[in-house]
């Protein structure tokens, strides 16, 4: 059992938890992930390590309550335990302190973009961070991201905060203004990563993306997280999760991510139904 030492609601949909997991905290690096299972009947889901503290032995996860499992996880409170918590899995981000990089985070993807930006920043890299959100009320980690970058930009789809527009607009604006990035790191929804990669390909800037497909074991056993990179089949859990974005087949990844959409919606409906029953009983 893995105890939740701290819980913080970052917005109405996104939650941060610090979980006691000393073995993982001792070893994990930016870009790696954990797999967790909430309870005996639960599924195994991957979440990227958002932060860690080697002294206190804690690992921070940030998740959006989007399906049944993340909703159940969100119902747990400080002092409660997560049944299974395993890692660190995947290959850590290759951090090069000599570079000038642009890190792009989209929505809850900022929870993954932030530790990568921080790792580069701590290593001495010149980090420009562009964070995109739908709207002002779902902005997360603003202060943290500011502290992990030398130049920080927020954009929102509806213009309620920062500049109105998409992360790609901001990135292109910076490039056209003469910023010379050695590398771009894009983490967020598949569609966002796809369009960042199309843009950076045009300007020939090497781009890494962090993939987050459906997984079961997370240790290379089931092959369910496979994707096509440069025409070859790769497993996100052991070959990634970071890949050269210019080689990733995003259309296929988007298609594969929808495999269980119906089943996930049904599970969510059942959860809502039983929660309503519980509320009724009270």
């Amino acid at each position: 059992m893995y105890k939740i030492l701290k819980k913080e609601e970052l917005n109405s949909q996104v939650t941060l938890m610090e979980v006691q997991a000393p073995l993982i905290a001792k070893k994990c690096l930016a870009g790696q992930f954990i797999i967790l299972r909430v309870n005996e009947l639960g599924e195994r889901i991957p979440l990227t390590v958002a932060d860690y503290n080697r002294e206190t032995g804690t690992v921070t996860i940030i998740f959006q309550k989007i399906g049944k499992t993340t909703s159940q996880l969100g119902m747990l409170n400080q002092g409660d335990c997560i049944l299974d918590f395993v890692g660190p899995l995947g290959i850590a981000t290759h951090v090069d302190g000599a570079k000038k990089i642009a890190v792009i985070g989209g929505g809850v993807g900022c929870a993954i973009a932030y530790p990568q930006a921080k790792a580069f920043h701590d290593a001495g890299a010149d980090v420009t961070l562009i964070a995109g959100f739908r709207s002002k009320d779902i902005v997360i980690l603003e202060n943290e991201m500011k502290a992990a970058s030398s130049s920080f930009h927020i954009v929102t789809d509806d213009g309620t905060y920062g500049d109105k527009g998409l992360v790609t607009n901001k990135l292109e604006e910076l490039i056209l203004a003469g910023e010379k990035f050695d590398e771009v790191i894009a983490i967020g929804p598949l569609v966002m990563m796809k369009f960042v990669c199309l843009l950076t390909k045009k300007y020939e800037i090497p781009t890494m993306v962090s993939m987050n497909p459906v997984m079961i074991d997370g240790t290379g056993m089931c092959g369910c997280c496979r994707l096509t990179v440069g025409g070859k089949v790769k497993f996100a859990c052991v070959d990634g999760p970071d890949f050269d974005g210019h080689l990733v087949n995003f259309d296929e990844a988007i298609q594969r991510s929808s495999m269980y959409k119906n089943e996930e919606r049904q599970a969510m409906d059942r959860l809502n139904h039983s929660c309503n029953l519980l509320k009724g009983a009270k």
């Binding site: 599924e43 195994r44 079961i216 240790t219 056993m221 089931c222 092959g223 496979r226 296929e252 495999m259």
Partner: protein, 463 residues
Amino acid sequence: MANMSLKKVSIPEQEPCIRNKNFGEVSLGYTAQMAMEEATRCLNCRHKPCILGCPVNVKIPEFIQLVAAGDFVAAYNKITETNSLPAVCGRVCPQESQCEGKCVRAIKGESVGIGRLERFCADYVIEHGGASVVKPELNNHKVAVLGAGPSGLSCAGDMAKKGYDVTIYEAFHTTGGVLIYGIPEFRLPKSIVNIEVNKLVELGVKIKLNAVAGAAVSIDELFEEGYESIFIGTGAGLPSFMNIEGENLNGVYSANEFLTRINLMKAFLDDHDTPYKKHNVVAVVGGGNVAMDSARCAKRLGADTHIIYRRALEEMPARQEEVHHAMEEEIIFDTLVNPVRILGDDSGNVVGIECVKMVQGEPDASGRCRPVVVEGSNFVIDTDAVIMSIGTSPNPIITSNTPNLDTNKWGCIVADETGATSIPGVYAGGDAVTGAATVILAMGAGKIAADNMDKYIKEKNSK
């Protein structure tokens, strides 16, 4: 006087048309009377070829004589002198190519039902108790076992019996490895696996779950923590694909994924959260035990199920019993057929698998006829799921994180006949060394490694 019947005493089974709709065990096992009757078919011959056919050298004629005499507990204790998991082996060993394949009774008629008798003894003791658990005296030496599958459990059991303080590190949230995630309930009930694992715990074996060898714990750290020898039994994880068009469509699974969803995560049950997609027609590609397991699971979940195999039926590597059971359960066998591509609809879902017909050519290196494509014989099987069951390669996590651990070109850990690897004190066995093989071969490797780890530690400490 031996029972000279040419046939094994038949074993009660669930009817095929009933069992192909449930996950209950197919074979119901012998009654005491059936077991005693079958046991009298053993001639107790002098040269005991059956023992040589067993990777863990179970004293087969001796235990069978005890069964014949009705002393089932003593028979069980005789088996467990060399085999830590009899209830498992009695169910899943390929006996026809091992002990039973060597049985002199098989020269004329059927061999003695050694597997069935082993299972009977194990089940008898599970039900009635009485097994001798001799808790060994601890020798105050610590060893670590990486992976709680067949090779690791076998190694851990033997080391514990020798008095070692054993800790198993397992990546999954439960023990058993392929016995849990791979082999389905109807062939090996999970309660049986748990009972066998609990026996190790009673022997003093400690188990750490959710601990990925190579990620959370490294070989160097384990030595630093005072483990004097380490066994790597991390299995063959990585599933292989055919590299044909359409393999990443929705509805194409590796056998590992399909079986893990069903066996480990129980995705087909409504109260379990792992999603399962209902399929009407499932095509399983491959001819091994894993292919049979996948097909029979798919059938039980309501799909019309095909097995597609590029060679002939008699060349299938699966246990005869599995092929036989699968056929009884109305699984369609498309043999001498090979897939060339998987067809999808506009949303990326599988709608069919295009295959070619094959004919048997000249024998190849394996001694089997090389399958040759019949040009222009392409045809399509309409299906909404494809399960690739064409093998696996070893899990890369431990090897990629342990630079001085030698591997071969397939990524298998290099170990000699004693199980020793390129790192002193580190032993390995099972699929991590051999690539995908059987439960019992993995158990045999774990056992051999245990003997040699014991020798290694004794020699080191006597210096």
